[in-house]
């Protein structure tokens, strides 16, 4: 239902907030007939700068890699084209990695979008529901003949990001201020992101590990997940991988059969 005609002020006020070409809306003014231009610009500036700041807070490694000026210019384009649709800014910027992937000036950094995907997964893990992770003893108690049909319930904070580039190493090297050495960006790396209790941890999964963990986290039984992992990497070690996932806090509990 459209608002009554007397409530059209927001429809008149809003469009120029993210469009610097439009003049200040006719409905507003300064006092005693003064102009509204620079006054309205305060709102434009508040909106744009606060949303760029929100992206900078979610993507600090991307900003460190690109430098602040490059990042803010890139983020400004994204903010103007894709403003938030939720008042929760921790949900903002989900489209930013895809924007980076097609951003003309970032083409010489083809791994940058995947670093952003890891940062987005990091924040999701940070805010995810708290849950006690599955203990290794619970898995050890399962009878061997039942392992094939075992289903693991994923932890709310667990996520996987796959990359054709060394995204995990680049992410880890740029999340703080210590010097970054030379990185071979061409080595594919998949990330496991978890938060068992307080701290979000990003791990580099071994070959086949992402296929394995993705299958398990989408509710496929252990036997099927292992087959997918072996398809991806012939030397895949099931025992060490399942132990690694559980120790990382990727799951909360055990079930059997399809769930």
């Amino acid at each position: 239902m459209p608002p009554e005609p007397d409530l059209c002020f927001a429809a008149a006020f809003a469009p120029a907030l993210l469009d610097p070409v439009r003049p200040a809306p006719e409905i507003v003014t300064g006092p005693n007939g003064k102009a509204a231009g620079k006054r309205y610009d305060v709102y434009r500036n508040n909106v744009t700068v606060s949303l760029i700041d929100a992206l900078a807070a979610i993507y600090p490694a991307v900003q460190r890699i690109t430098g602040t000026d490059f990042f803010r210019a890139m983020a400004r384009f994204h903010v103007r084209g894709t403003p938030p649709i939720s008042p929760l800014l921790s949900d903002y910027g989900r489209d930013f990695p895809a924007f980076i992937a097609q951003y003309e000036h970032a083409q010489m950094m083809p791994w940058l979008a995947d670093v952003a995907r890891i940062e987005r997964a990091w924040l999701d893990a940070y805010h995810a529901a708290d849950a006690a992770p599955l203990s290794p003893a619970q898995l050890a108690a399962v009878a061997p003949e039942r392992l094939d049909g075992l289903v693991l319930i994923p932890h709310p904070a667990a996520g996987i990001v796959r990359s054709q580039f060394a995204a995990v190493t680049i992410f880890a090297a740029n999340r703080d201020t210590s010097p970054v050495g030379r990185i071979d960006a061409a080595t594919p790396e998949d990330a496991l992101v978890t938060r068992a209790e307080f701290d979000v941890v990003v791990r580099h999964l071994p070959p086949g590990g992402a296929a394995f963990a993705s299958s398990l986290m989408s509710g496929r039984p252990l036997g099927e997940a292992a087959a997918r992992a072996l398809d991806a990497a012939a030397d895949f070690d099931i025992a060490s991988n399942i132990t690694g996932l559980i120790e990382a806090g990727a799951f909360t509990s055990i079930a059997f059969g399809d769930v």
């Binding site: 927001a10 809003a14 709102y43």
Partner: protein, 304 residues
């Protein structure tokens, strides 16, 4: 009464916290968590932006639980868009209610402003015209919030940079009418009064004389920044990034003398200083509150 009765969880959590009286508090910033928890428990309270604690879990809730264990809390909503023409976001209102239930804040407040239009969230406190139609709309929205949280909301006066040609009443008349119709309380932001008075060329003292002080349940003090308008005249920006200005302190003292002690918050949201700096601003407000304590309530001072 020792009979155990299974609680109705939909009704039980919305308890009031005890009134906190004339104490000064500060914004809670996560960077200060260790300094606050490491210090001896002190008089005062902490205020948080509700939206920063609407995630499902994780470190933000751990921090807020740690703060809430030993201190009264003020829950300050920033994004409800109460002043906007479109219906309130029901999911957002539910999240707000959940926080009130979970943390049982002593104070709950929101803004006379809007931040969402159609599907876009602008992350700023945007202004509205003051007309009969916007008055009905704001009152309707506040009724909905108060129905959800089952307690009076404190509504904050805005800082503004533009005026609407269509406005037909003053901001103080509008706010008084909202309070009378909805029964809400008011959060008087004295820095906002000073900023708006400068920007629109009116007297801050006249505004405060017109403001329904008896409804004020909390006061905000904050720093502002200076820019210029199109004519080159001073335009103040409500930046919350520095100490409270001397002129705002003077207005505060006048309000407290007239109103008596009210919970007072030092707001500092950007260029966050070290904890002792913020705590010292709160101590300055506390000194004014204690000095203006009405006669008869000074017994603790004599006993000391």
């Amino acid at each position: 009464m020792t009979t155990a009765i299974a609680p109705d969880m939909s009704a039980v959590p919305l308890r009031y916290s005890a009134p906190i009286g004339g104490v000064a508090g500060t914004s809670f910033k996560p960077a200060h968590l260790q300094a606050i928890l490491g210090a001896k428990q002190q008089r005062g309270f902490f205020e948080v932006h509700a939206e920063n604690y609407m995630g499902a879990g994780g470190p933000p809730h751990r921090a807020l639980e740690g703060i809430r264990r030993d201190h009264p809390l003020s829950l300050h909503g920033v994004c409800m868009s109460i002043g906007g023409p479109q219906p309130l976001d029901k999911a957002h209102l539910a999240r707000f209610r959940e926080l009130v239930a979970r943390y049982q804040p002593a104070l709950v407040s929101e803004h006379l402003a809007w931040s969402t239009h159609e599907t876009s969230f602008f992350n700023d406190l945007l202004p509205l015209p003051y007309t009969a139609a916007t008055l009905r709309n704001v009152c309707d929205h506040i009724d909905q919030v108060q129905d959800a949280i089952r307690r009076p909301l404190l509504l904050e006066n805005p800082s503004t940079y533009v005026a609407f040609r269509e406005s037909s009443m003053s901001e103080t008349d509008f706010i008084r009418a909202v309070a009378e119709r909805t029964g809400c309380g008011l959060l008087l932001d004295i820095n906002n009064v000073f900023v708006s008075a400068t920007n629109h060329g009116f007297s801050a003292l006249d505004y405060l004389a017109d403001f329904p002080l008896s409804r004020v349940g909390e006061i905000h003090l904050a720093g502002h920044a200076e820019q210029a308008d199109d004519e080159g005249d001073l335009l103040l920006i409500d930046s919350h990034d520095g100490p409270v200005a001397d002129a705002v302190w003077k207005l505060y003292e006048i309000v407290i003398q007239r109103r008596g002690p009210v919970p007072t918050l030092i707001e500092w949201d950007s260029k966050i200083p070290d904890w002792p700096v913020l705590r010292a601003e709160a101590a300055a407000a506390q000194a004014i509150l204690d000095r203006c304590r009405p006669a008869g309530l000074t017994g603790d001072r004599h006993a000391a």
